[in-house]
């Protein structure tokens, strides 16, 4: 993995005048930040607007709220199956992430360090598996899920999510394992450690940042997954948040925007909070998958 060349000199920037810099850097930057963040602001402000202000743009400024209310959240939490969807999403995400991490650690170690016959080809196949999109797999998978008899259960999602999580995690961890010096393993081998001991006592402790990256990234991917959950789940109490909010909160032509936006806001919070703690791991996993 290429290291960042972070130098703290001003470089060529020092030759730029202030007005020029304002126009060329800060103005576009401000526009980017505004456009990228506005939908979230709009989501949040709608979630706490009382119903009478939601569409009354003449008497109330749409950009602000007078007397914010938690009515919509209350409705969501106590009168719908929303808490249940949240719980399903947590279970499915945690379980599929755990399965994928274990499988990916073993696979990445085997490909990168055991170097068994055909390991290079296997590595390439894993990369190709990463490129297979869920939109061409969901129909046959629905068929299989039905035949196995796990249709409309959380197990269907727990078992199918690893199809896109394992290739990603393996690919990412291969990069991390590659950066661990061979010499450490060799000296452990000389000291009589088994492969299993080497993996658990030497490689894994050194690869903790990689494990965190892969873990939170996989968690986010499964939290955000939509098409499998939409196809394999039919009863309300087994739905995940994205599917539940979209299919159960929209009734006919009456859009309860307050409740919808509260649902979207609450459903986004867990990943956003996780993200805020691990920003650097996210960035490294995102760019790691691309750069390797």
């Amino acid at each position: 993995m290429a290291r960042q060349s972070e130098d703290n000199v001003a470089g060529l920037d020092q030759f730029e005048s202030l007005p020029r810099r304002l126009l060329l850097v800060w103005l576009p930057m401000a526009v980017f930040v505004f456009v990228l963040l506005f939908p979230f602001y709009w989501m949040a402000i709608t979630a706490v607007k009382p119903d009478n202000q939601l569409t009354d743009y003449d008497n109330y400024s749409p950009f602000w709220v007078v007397g914010p209310t938690l009515e919509h959240m209350k409705y969501l939490l106590f009168e719908t199956t929303y808490p249940r969807w949240m719980w399903n999403t947590v279970i499915v995400s945690v379980a599929s992430t755990a399965i994928s991490l274990v499988a990916a650690v073993l696979a990445a170690y085997a490909i990168e360090r055991l170097r068994f016959r055909g390991s290079r080809v296997t590595g390439l196949l894993i990369f190709l598996a990463y490129l297979v999109p869920p939109s061409i797999l969901f129909i046959p998978l629905a068929f299989i899920v039905f035949q196995v008899g796990i249709f409309d259960s959380r197990l269907a999602l727990i078992l199918t999510y690893p199809t896109f999580l394992i290739p990603f995690c393996t690919w990412l961890l291969m990069g991390y394992f590659r950066s661990i010096p061979y010499e450490l393993e060799e000296s452990a081998l000389v000291d009589g450690a088994t492969r299993w001991q080497i993996l658990t006592k030497i490689v894994l402790p050194l690869a903790v940042p990689g494990l965190i990256s892969a873990g939170i990234f996989a968690f986010t991917l499964s939290w955000n997954e939509f098409i499998y959950a939409l196809t394999f789940i039919s009863s309300s109490e087994n739905k995940t948040v994205p599917v539940g909010v979209l299919t159960e909160l929209v009734r006919g032509d009456i859009y309860e925007w307050g409740a919808l936006m509260s649902g979207a806001l609450l459903g986004s919070l867990p990943v956003v909070i996780l993200y805020s703690f691990f920003v650097d791991y996210y960035v490294s996993s995102m760019t790691g998958a691309v750069k390797e």
């Binding site: 930057m29 894993i126 939109s135 061409i136 299989i144 750069k291």
Partner: protein, 315 residues
């Protein structure tokens, strides 16, 4: 003491069990380690991929296993104007969204690559659209694109640019541009942050040397930055194109393919025909029709990577 050990060696050794032998051999252990991932990927990825191709040749419906009908589904799709409209929409959507994501993403990456105060903070908030579940942020766009109470319409009416609200998702071309806009919004962070990582590997000294030699900023961009960035651009854009081409969530939330199929992508059409419509075979055929395009994108990525090796020398 030594004689005993010699005797054990000479005595016919007990054949070690299969597991022991596997653990002791490099290939055997590799096989064991690959087993969990292998089982998952074979059963839930490779097998469904093959099954999908097979289903495309059958007339399977939900709740009824079908029979082999050869190219019937494809012949049917070939004469189906809605399918061709979906192909057109998919290409249109992919081309415009990808080009815009690339241009804006590169611009944002270049901005972030400068010496800004609070750089890490900016980087963190810029990635937010990518972190939040697409379906949930798409619902915010759904509300932003509302036909009566759209905030964009309201602002434009306030400024006096338009007289009545824009019908964002109700008119075919408006709907196409609206979903593209939402897709661009969702995709910029990935492109920008990945390209930023690439930009950071380019030594500042190259740019400075070019500047001393009298290169204009534009020349420095096209002659120094872009060539060095090409390999990463190839990979990032392959991913971006791949995910845009197979997009489903955004369309499903915003328009469900409407109005009059104007925004149906191949993925949404395949879902529409297979799950609510019950025609699993036909849906699978549409999904299979996406594969040639995906292969083209993967080959593109492969050659991009090759070029990267050639540029950096084999290390």
């Amino acid at each position: 003491m030594s004689s005993t050990s010699v005797r054990t060696d000479d005595a016919p050794r007990r054949r070690p069990g299969l597991l022991t032998r596997m653990i002791e051999s490099r290939n055997g252990l590799g096989f064991l380690f690959m087993l969990p991932a292998g089982i998952f990927l074979l059963f839930f990825l490779t097998y469904p991929l093959g099954l999908g191709v097979w289903l495309g040749f059958t007339d399977t419906k939900i709740g009824r296993s079908g029979i082999f009908v050869g190219l019937e589904n494809y012949r049917w799709l070939f004469d189906d104007p809605v399918f061709w409209l979906a192909v057109f929409n998919t290409l249109f959507y992919t081309v415009f969204a990808s080009v815009a994501k690339f241009a804006l993403g590169l611009w944002l990456a270049m901005l972030l690559n400068r010496h800004l105060p609070f750089k890490n903070f900016f980087r963190a908030i810029i990635l937010l659209p990518w972190v939040v579940p697409t379906v949930l942020s798409a619902m915010a766009f759904w509300w932003i694109f509302d036909s009566q109470f759209s905030i964009i319409s309201w602002v434009l009416m306030r400024i006096g640019l338009i007289d009545q609200p824009i019908n964002f998702l109700g008119d075919p071309w408006n709907a196409r541009w609206s979903v593209i806009a939402a897709n661009i919004w969702r995709g910029i962070p990935f492109v920008a942050i990945s390209l930023l990582a690439g930009l950071q590997t380019i030594p500042q000294s190259l740019n400075e040397a070019a500047a001393i030699d009298g290169a204009t900023p534009w020349q420095r961009f096209t002659k120094v930055t872009l060539p060095l960035l090409t390999p990463i651009i190839a990979v990032v854009m392959t991913f971006s194109v791949l995910f845009t081409f197979t997009d489903f969530q955004l369309i499903y939330v915003l328009t469900r393919g409407g109005p009059v199929n104007a925004t149906h992508l191949m993925a949404t059409l395949s879902f529409q025909r297979a799950i609510p419509g019950g025609q699993l075979g036909e849906g699978a055929a549409i999904a299979v029709a996406m594969i040639p395009f995906l292969l083209a994108a993967i080959l593109f990525s492969f050659f991009g990577l090759q070029r990267r090796k050639w540029q950096q020398g084999n290390d």
